[in-house]
């Protein structure tokens, strides 16, 4: 997976985290989505992270956690 601006910019990482957690207000979300619409690699990355998060959320209570359980 290619590096994106999220790897080098802490503020963007905070934005993405809050975006994925649904913690941005409407104005913040709109400006972040506008940023994504103008930056293809970051948009693809954010969508993948969102889907990965949703996949995990769906099975969080059933999944067998690898290598860190006893």
């Amino acid at each position: 997976m290619k590096p994106t601006a999220f790897d080098s910019d802490g503020v963007l990482t905070d934005f993405l985290t809050d975006y994925l957690d649904g913690n941005l207000d409407q104005a913040e979300r709109q400006s972040f989505e506008e940023y994504l619409s103008q930056n293809e690699e970051e948009k693809v990355f954010a969508h993948k992270a969102m889907k990965g998060k949703k996949a995990l959320a769906r099975f969080a209570d059933k999944i067998n956690v690898p290598s860190v359980t006893a």
Partner: protein, 204 residues
Amino acid sequence: MQAASKAEFRKMSDEDLMEKFQSGYELAFNILVDRYQDRLHNFLYRYTHDHQDCEDLVQETFFRVFRSRHSYERIAKFSTWMYTIAINLAKSLYKKKKRMTKVTIHKDPDDSEDRPMKLEDSGILPDDSLHEKMCMDQLEKALEELSDDFREVVVLRDIQQLSYEEISEIADLPMGTVKSRINRGRAQLQELLENYVYPETISA
């Protein structure tokens, strides 16, 4: 000799102590208990809000660490491994308590032996959907394929549902690194899942 060893052991990292413990040095285990029992108690109190439950959980956690010492591999930080055991135990306790329904069957209020009973709720049905099982298998496989750095924080956040602050504390990483690794771990996980479904799209 023993005193010198003890001093040396106390200077060791958690992971070195676990290795010593795996080689048969129980002193290493005792030092890990000393190092973590109070921190673990405080950590678990956030989940249980009950000091007695915390004490039981701390004891059970160390018992499991003791019993499962040979299943610990150095690829995971000792603290993450131990906290994960503790969190799983706390969650099991919570689920167990939630399943219990209090039913009052007092007939004689003067009878001290006549206490409320707790009955287990048997109305929980197992989910045996084949599709769901397949999705779960794929998800577990993808999680196993993630690098340790990403898997550790993704599991703590999205499965154990810990806060970023807690993960930062457990993994001993700055908050920014925690968030960045979680996001990248999620994205990589999704990429792996897509590759299972559409293997022809795998890029070199």
